[in-house]
């Protein structure tokens, strides 16, 4: 633990989202508490094993320690935990799960995990998804789309690769076709189990242009190890616009990226 502690910031992977540094800092604060307790206990422990070795200390003391320092220690631990809880964990979690950005201020993406790949759905130029329902989901209609809906005509579908603009919040509405997967982008410090029959949002604000690995963080079958094909491409606004234009389907045509379904 000590080795890990002193290397801690070095072990944490690169951060590329707005809230990512908060997650890392919080992990580091907790490790300071852990380090204080561990070093304190260890020093006491080593001293006691030396001091009260039976060869040296022939007669044990029936009463043992007579101080109540330990009670103060326990109270101190409780106080630090209360601070970590109320000042950090609860409000920061609330920000992540309660303040999901509205469609007007964010890119909206639907994620449908399957064994063993990631399907993405982008609302297209009109920023509106067509209607969807879980009872329409099938192997052919992975997102359970209402094919009649006008808003859905320009939706874009891709497999494993999705493009986003940098410096703009993005909301992923995650779900799964088959078993539980977990949509994790390490550099963004987001992780969300994708659960069939449920659509659960998770969001972040990417700050750096780049191509980011998507991990499946939940055992999902014998291809779990190989479910490494997913990438989040965070583009500059120009590159993103170009991607959007290139992939927007013409009238009457199915979303261009849908070809990659095959």
């Amino acid at each position: 633990m000590l080795q890990e502690l002193f290397n801690l910031p070095a072990n944490l992977p690169v951060v590329a989202s707005e809230h990512g540094a908060d997650v890392d800092n919080f992990i580091i604060y907790i490790h300071w508490l852990m380090a204080a307790l561990f070093i304190g206990w260890s020093s006491y422990y080593i001293y006691v094993l030396w001091r009260f070795n039976g060869k040296k200390n022939k007669k044990a003391d029936y009463h043992g320690a007579r101080t109540h320092v330990s009670s103060y220690l326990e109270v101190a631990v409780a106080i630090v935990e209360v601070v970590l809880l109320t000042a950090f964990a609860i409000p920061m979690w609330a920000k992540v799960v309660e303040e999901v950005p509205k469609p007007e201020e964010s890119t909206q993406i639907r994620v449908m995990a399957q064994q063993f790949a990631w399907n993405f759905m982008h609302p297209g130029a009109d920023d509106k998804f067509g209607k969807q329902a879980f009872d329409l989901v099938s192997e052919e209609n992975k997102f359970g789309r209402d094919l009649e809906d006008e808003n859905g005509k320009d939706d874009i579908f891709t497999l494993n690769e999705i493009h986003l603009p940098v410096d703009k919040k993005v909301v992923f509405h995650t779900s799964s076709l088959d078993v539980i997967h977990s949509f994790k982008v390490i550099a963004m410090r987001i992780c969300q189990d994708t659960i069939p029959g449920m659509s659960i949002p998770v969001w972040c604000e990417p700050l750096k242009v780049g191509r980011y690995q998507i991990n499946c963080a939940q055992l999902c079958g014998n291809g779990h190890t190989a479910m490494t094909g997913g990438f989040l491409n965070v583009d500059s606004q120009e590159d993103y616009d170009a991607w959007l234009a290139q992939n927007t389907p013409a009238d009457g045509e199915e979303g261009a990226g849908a070809l990659s379904f095959e």
Binding site: P13, I30, Y44, Y45, I90, D193, P196, G197
Partner: protein
């Protein structure tokens, strides 16, 4: 007729009221269909140690795959191919196209992963901690002649064995054993075609039934059969720990039994308890839907978390007995220990969903669960602190049981502390399901609980056999285990911090920089390389157990004989019996006059006052 037999007859007279006939038990009656709590304890002990060995074998194979993915498994590769046909991947020489060995397929890896967890938790550590130690020691410590329901006790062991055999049987069916992790989350568990999952579910129902029989028996025994004078506050802490553990098993296991039955129905009867609308899986065509995958997770973790305390409380009990005995002074804060254990027991029922932070949990629910999780850390800290402070003022004897018990303290400390960043939801975002979690719970269970249980074996061995285990080989066993245990689990914290996911057959190589050179967030080489170190450390840890295994059996007949019935100069009642204790346990019904840890009482003639002696 030697003296032991004479005492056995004597004990049997006490037992006559139970309507047993033990005057001339045959081999079967004495060792297989025994109703004697001591024999049943030993049955549980040997069976669970064998399962532990099997669980270790599985992880040894998996560690090869993690460190050297795709490379042929040495030594046992073709053997494995013989027994689990179709689940290994043949490896061909790229030039000559000749078969050079068998590698571990993903199916095999997932099977072994699921079975490693299941076997270690449900068939090795819990039965050893609760059933083996509890059965052997509790009736002796409370001054009872046996458990309250001896036949129920026998039934409990036989069901446990049956459940274990069903679980092992699944290795030899086409398709192999369950593959969905020890948690068996639905719909994955339901969608994998192997019948191994069916075996898993049936075996779990049998094992749980066995646990419930054991749990009611312990509760009845501890409440009803305490010797005169054995008041609650004179109860050795080990018995308190077992008492609370029994309640945890009794109250937490039934929801999982129900959960397993519902999953069984989903599998065999076409129900949809855990199968939602909108499922598109080619192997499952006619799903009516409307179920909830999260329901299963709740039922599983409602057991799963109390189960952690089922693993740890008996271990803490063992450690307290050994520390009191080998510091030659009372446990510091006995009452705090007892009350903390009770609080821990209650709280352990309301923290379960901290395993599920990332299933889409809102602020209110997650605040509740992380608050209870932080509250439960307080009694844990109190228990550990009491044990640490108990060392102060002692006259410490560093024998083998004490070394293992002492190592438990910092090792469990590391396990507990690393639970903090996982218990807070915000830090869990990054650490969830990484090797950090693996490191965390293995520190709790392996160098934590298992060290404590090994300490218990070295400690109570002289009572079982009348002989000591070898001190020299015990110390070799301890130091090797201690070093390799840490070399195995320590690097996992760094790997987890770097984002390395668990349950990867290739140890994360698929997400490595080498595999994804242009990706940000790929796993750096330095962390991947640790896999090789860990694997060899784990093998060395396995080899370190050889002196223990030889010592365990060799010392039965060849170990140094004990000088008296109470070789450790202990206060508790199990040492105030003949060695080994005959059927019926005590030569005269014990009466209790003192607390459990009256060591080094000022003014006393010797440094221990047994509970059954007036001081």
């Amino acid at each position: 007729m030697d003296s032991t037999e004479a005492k056995e007859h004597h004990g049997a007279e006490h037992d006559a009221g139970h309507g047993h006939d033990h005057h001339d038990p045959g081999f079967m009656r004495k060792y297989i269909f025994s109703t004697d709590h001591k024999i049943i304890g030993i049955q549980y002990g040997l069976t669970s140690l064998l399962f532990m060995l099997a669980g270790f074998f599985l992880i040894a194979v998996m560690r090869w795959s993690i460190a050297f993915p795709g490379e042929p498994l040495p030594v046992i590769g073709s053997l494995l191919n013989t027994f689990m046909a179709g689940m290994t991947s043949p490896v061909l020489d790229p030039e000559t196209n000749e078969l050079i060995g068998y590698a571990i397929s993903n199916d095999l890896y997932n099977s072994f992963g699921a079975m490693h967890g299941t076997i270690m938790v449900f068939l090795a550590v819990v039965p050893l901690a609760f059933a083996a130690f509890g059965n052997y020691v509790v009736p002796l410590q409370i001054g009872a002649i046996d458990m309250a329901f001896p036949r129920l006790n026998m039934a409990s062991y036989h069901l446990f064995l049956l459940g274990g055999l069903v679980m092992l049987g699944s290795f030899f069916i086409p398709g192999g054993p369950a593959q969905a992790g020890w948690t068996s989350y639905s719909p994955l568990a339901t969608s994998i075609p192997t019948d191994g999952q069916l075996y898993w579910l049936i075996a779990m129902v049998i094992i749980i039934t066995s646990s419930l029989l054991g749990a009611v028996n312990f509760i009845a025994t501890i409440i009803q059969l305490r010797a005169p004078g054995m008041t609650w506050m004179r109860l050795p802490f080990f018995c308190w720990a077992q008492f609370v553990t029994a309640f945890l098993l009794l109250l937490a296991f039934p929801p999982l039994e129900v959960g397993a039955l519902l999953q069984l129905m989903d599998r065999v009867a076409g129900t949809s308890f855990y199968l939602p609308t909108g499922l598109a899986i080619s192997s499952m065509q006619d799903v009516s839907g409307g179920g909830s995958p999260l329901l299963y997770q709740h039922l599983f973790w409602f057991l799963g978390h109390p189960e952690v305390y089922v693993l740890i409380l008996p271990a803490m009990g063992v450690v307290s007995e050994i520390i009191a005995n080998n510091t030659r002074k009372p446990i510091w804060g006995y009452k705090s220990l007892v009350y903390s254990t009770l609080v821990l027991g209650f709280l352990s029922f309301i923290v379960w969903a901290h395993h599920m932070y990332l299933t889409g949990m809102g602020t209110k629910i997650s605040t509740f669960f992380q608050t209870t999780t932080m509250i439960i850390s307080i009694p844990s800290v109190i228990i550990l602190t009491c044990l640490f402070i108990s060392l102060w003022g002692g006259s410490i004897r560093f024998n083998t049981p004490m070394l293992f018990a002492l190592a438990f303290l910092p090792m469990f400390g590391i396990g507990g502390l690393t639970g903090l960043p996982l218990g807070f939801n915000y830090s869990d975002i990054h650490l969830h399901d990484t090797y950090y979690v693996i490191g965390h719970f293995h520190y709790v269970v392996a160098p934590g609980t298992i060290f404590a249980l090994i300490a218990g074996i070295y400690f109570w061995y002289p009572k079982l056999t009348g002989r000591y285990m070898s001190e020299f080989w015990g110390k070799v066993h301890f130091w090797c285990s201690f070093v390799f245990m840490n070399l195995t689990f320590q690097p996992m914290f760094a790997q987890g911090m770097a984002g390395m996911e668990r349950r990867m057959a290739d140890g994360g190589a698929g997400y490595s920089v080498a595999n994804n050179p242009d990706a940000i967030g790929a796993l750096a080489d330095q962390f991947l390389k640790l896999n090789v170190n860990i694997t060899f450390a784990a093998y060395a840890l396995g080899l370190s157990q050889i002196p223990f295994i030889i010592n365990l059996f060799y010392s039965i007949s060849k170990g140094r004989s004990v000088e008296s019935d109470n070789p450790w100069q202990s206060t508790t009642l199990e040492w105030q019996t003949p060695t080994p204790p005959p059927h019926g346990n005590f030569t005269t019904p014990p009466k209790v006059f003192a607390g459990p840890y009256e060591y080094s009482v000022p003014g006393a003639a010797q440094d221990y006052n047994p509970q059954n002696q007036k001081s």
